[in-house]
């Protein structure tokens, strides 16, 4: 009679963990990037892990896009607030530096949202140093799709974006840098 009891308990515990895990992910998916509100931090690939601990709490791993990005602090606070409000129980948010965040980790959904927000999504898998130092391939204009564009500034309104201009339709646009 004693043997089934632990099984029942562990099943109940794991369903509870699963339930709270789902709550945690849903809460995280609602946290917007303060600089690009179209995107959630999950779309950006900033959440590295949500790991249940043996004491019933969660460890949440969060990566910065750029080490000096002022949004990093805001994002961390928003994550803590969202998890608290979702009632997921105990949790600790830690910064994960390694492996370093890459723009390749932006999800398909994230890339789509970036594009519809008017920001050209990053080129994929050109994070080789030679390519970066030489300067990238031409970036197509998000409005008229011409590739007759020029980079106006390597650095834009946030560390992650560069400023471009289309020579065909003459509109300026932003490009999410490949890193």
């Amino acid at each position: 009679m004693n043997s089934p009891a632990p099984v029942t308990v562990s099943v109940r515990a794991s369903t509870d963990v699963d339930r709270r895990l789902a709550l945690a992910w849903a809460a995280l998916a609602s946290v917007e990037d303060p600089e690009i509100p179209a995107l959630s931090i999950v779309d950006l690939g900033l959440i590295r892990c949500v790991t249940p601990r043996s004491d019933g709490g969660f460890d949440v791993g969060l990566s910065p896009t750029y080490v000096g990005c002022p949004a990093t602090e805001v994002i961390r606070r928003s994550v803590e607030e969202a998890l608290k409000n979702a009632g997921v129980g105990e949790f600790a948010v830690t910064q994960v530096l390694s492996p370093a965040w890459s723009s390749d980790w932006i999800s398909e959904e994230g890339r789509r949202k970036l594009a519809s927000y008017g920001i050209v999504p990053p080129d994929r898998s050109v994070s080789s140093m030679r390519e970066v130092l030489r300067g990238g391939r031409p970036v197509a204009c998000p409005r008229c799709h011409s590739i007759d564009t020029q980079c106006v500034s390597e650095f834009g309104s946030t560390p992650c974006k560069a400023l471009h201009r289309c020579r065909a339709c003459l509109e300026p646009f932003e490009y999410f840098k490949c890193i």
Binding site: P70, S98, I179
Partner: protein, 250 residues
Amino acid sequence: MSEDLFRYVLRLGDLSLVLGQRLGEWVGHCPALEEDLGLANIALDLIGQARLLLSYAGEVEGRGRGEDEMAFLREHGEYLNAILAEQPNGDFGQTIVRQVLIDAFQLELYQRMVTSTDERLAAIAAKSVKEIQYHLRYSSAWLVRLGDGTEESHARVQNSLQALWPYTVEFFAEDELDRAMAERGVAPRLAEVQAAWAARIDAILAEATLERPAHRPHSWHGKRGQHSEHLGYILAEMQHLQRAYPGARW
């Protein structure tokens, strides 16, 4: 042993912090808005690196000092950055020359530190190197434009190169601390970094039609806490608020 690591991490962190603070002086004063954005963003990345490194230095030291105590409450002689970082901005060309020399150094150094036996430094290096690539892309593109530009711009950056070049000797002057770190696999051999740096700089200078100045022996010791007069002014501005209102927070 941890005293060695502490001092070594400060060398890295202080280089980023002092250069970041210097670049910040350009905000609102650049020749064009795009350059204002560029230098401010590079400064921001450097301050970000400094925060990671100075926090780590505080942990290694184990006396409860955090990034803020490290940045705002250390004295002149406790700063261990190479002296080049604290040299004045001068004109835009001089800032660009200083930036190219330091970007290329950081790039070659951190690229080799991603395999450090110190996991924390390896992680910081891997993160930083991605950003530094963009710094060098920006600074070297400007150096080429100015060097291979008008007579005036060429003469100005060549003069700046002449003036700043001697300070680069300090990057590669290997002392006991550098040797100890290399032997433990924490840091790469400086001779190796120097060879790669020189090759990269030579290629950029050739494209910029600039002449590499002759090597002149110098003995700068910023890495050991002996600085030029310029650092004092930087610290006075950077530390004023925390010194006047201890513990003030945003």
